[in-house]
Amino acid sequence: MAGTLIFSENPALVLELATAALEMDSGPVYALVINNGPQAEKLSNHGLAVLSVDEPGMSSFDTAGCAQAVAQTAGQKDLSMVLLSSDRRGKELAGRVAEAMHAGCLTDVKGFSLEGGQLAFTRNSLGGATLATQAIKTPAQVVAVSPRAFAPIAPTATGSIEAVKINVPASAVKLVETRSKAGDTVDLQAAERLVVVGQGVEDQSDLALVEQVAQALKAEIGCSKPVATDKKWYPEERIIGLSGKICKPALALILGVSGQVQFTVGVREAQVIVSVNNDENAFMNKIADYVLVADLKEALPELVRQLG
């Protein structure tokens, strides 16, 4: 185990990966930065040993090229552990880097432990129904770590920048246009209290009432996946669950969610869970602390009145 290479395009996640790498204690830790001088500067000022690739022919949107950059850098520096962020960019990259390095790979990793002298990683499995503990058997290992699974590393004065030369083939992907996603930048994972809208909130006009409930409770609003992807009532960044955000609020007030595992994995670590549902047998109720069996059409206005 010669050392660790960490990489994410998101500098905040690089700092989390640095913590994870340090805790794994598998040799020196280097942070790769691709075509981004200011970020290399910033991370080195924070105390990281930065390996900086400057390759004008390469672009971050070309996963094949990025994977080459990561794998070649790890090879040159003889680093056998690669930590990536398990956001969409990092997850797409992980499999390709792993294949290039003949490495076993795990994504969506939320923690690790030592099992018989080897690193064992925990991640959700079977759609969130189970928590798997898995070890990678190959000498080289690629691990994509879930955002917020580790705290960002504290700054130190030991940073450095070293240029690295790599050799990437011409890209077969061209960027035509990038559009920022609408300015709704809520941080659900940081929210202490969540009100969650499921398909049991039947009319879009009732969202105004949900908004009032959330305000009264000083909560952020999240939603189940179909409420964002099918009904498009909220942006996708408010989705809670396996393909959305995994949250650990003090309170989760769940309004009309059936409780499929892909959803519950996103709230099951809440301290207090309340489920309001008109079906007393809804699975959501079985993992709730308080259950109110009621029709939301009537319950929402009353809740607003009583909380107000």
């Binding site: 996963t63 294949e99 928590l131 077969a172 035509v176 920022s180 209290r193 393909s243 308080y290």
Partner: protein, 249 residues
């Protein structure tokens, strides 16, 4: 051109029960991943606009032929399948699928879902792209084919990227790319007659490496909750207040 859609045979997650914190998958029927069905739908829609064939590929249990009937009913023209007994890890699936795909002529597009319905580890598409030395784009919610180029939109957490990728390419779609059609009974009956090739892994002519990942345990988390039934909104508001979550603006 041929459009390849790689689909994963998985146990029907909704029917998995937990006993003593262990998932019980015996007797759970096999099905195809939901997002894989979106990938198939995307292929069928492209086929309807271009002159192409949709070939579904997959690895699965001895029932794999039966599981994939649904894919043929939903618009696949042909299936190429490999039977594999027991667990398969992402790197092994990728080798098997890449070997299957290599045997198919004039492949323009290889489609995957962004993640499988059971493990959701999102590795196999990227691994196959690397093995075959092809460009890739993940989290795609729009595909248009123009000659030998695909114009696609990749949807990331903070932005959308419109990209042009040279074919052949590997594309992994998100569930919001389309609504997958549900085949009719007649289509399901007709699917039985569509061409299928079912191979054993050793007939593929590739060495399948040992599993690179070992599962030490796989248990349902403890989810004991109080399940206190409250009868009225005022009881609920009181319970919230007692827990320290008072209302009031």
């Amino acid at each position: 051109m041929n459009i390849v859609v790689a689909m994963k045979e998985i146990p029907d997650i909704q029917q998995i029960r937990i006993r003593n914190r262990k998932p019980v998958t015996d007797d759970v029927p096999r099905t195809l991943g939901n997002i894989d069905k979106n990938a198939l739908e995307a292929a069928v829609q492209i086929k309807e606009k271009t002159d192409s064939q949709v070939i579904v590929v997959g690895v699965g249990s001895s029932e794999v032929e039966d599981t994939f009937k649904e894919a043929l009913a939903a618009g696949g023209d042909e299936a190429r399948l490999v039977v594999w007994d027991g667990e398969l890890e992402s790197s092994q699936s990728a080798q098997l699928l890449a070997a299957l795909i290599t045997k198919i002529d004039s492949v323009g597009l290889i489609l995957f879902g962004e993640g499988s319905g059971d493990n959701y580890s999102s590795q196999v598409g990227s691994r196959v792209a690397q093995i075959l030395g092809l460009p890739q784009v993940g989290y795609v919610n729009r595909i248009e084919i123009e000659g030998s180029t695909a114009r696609v939109t990749r949807s990331l957490e903070d932005c959308e990227q419109d990209l042009e990728v040279a074919l052949p390419a590997v594309i992994m779609v998100s569930s919001d790319i389309n609504t997958a059609r549900i085949p009719s009974v007649t289509q399901i009956l007709k699917a039985g007659k569509k061409p299928k090739e079912v191979l054993a892994a050793n007939e593929l002519g590739v060495a399948i490496p040992a599993a690179q990942v070992e599962t030490i345990s796989n248990l349902a988390p403890e989810m004991e909750r109080r399940q206190i039934s409250v009868k009225t909104i005022s009881d609920l508001v009181k319970a919230l207040a007692d827990e320290g979550f008072g209302g009031g603006r």
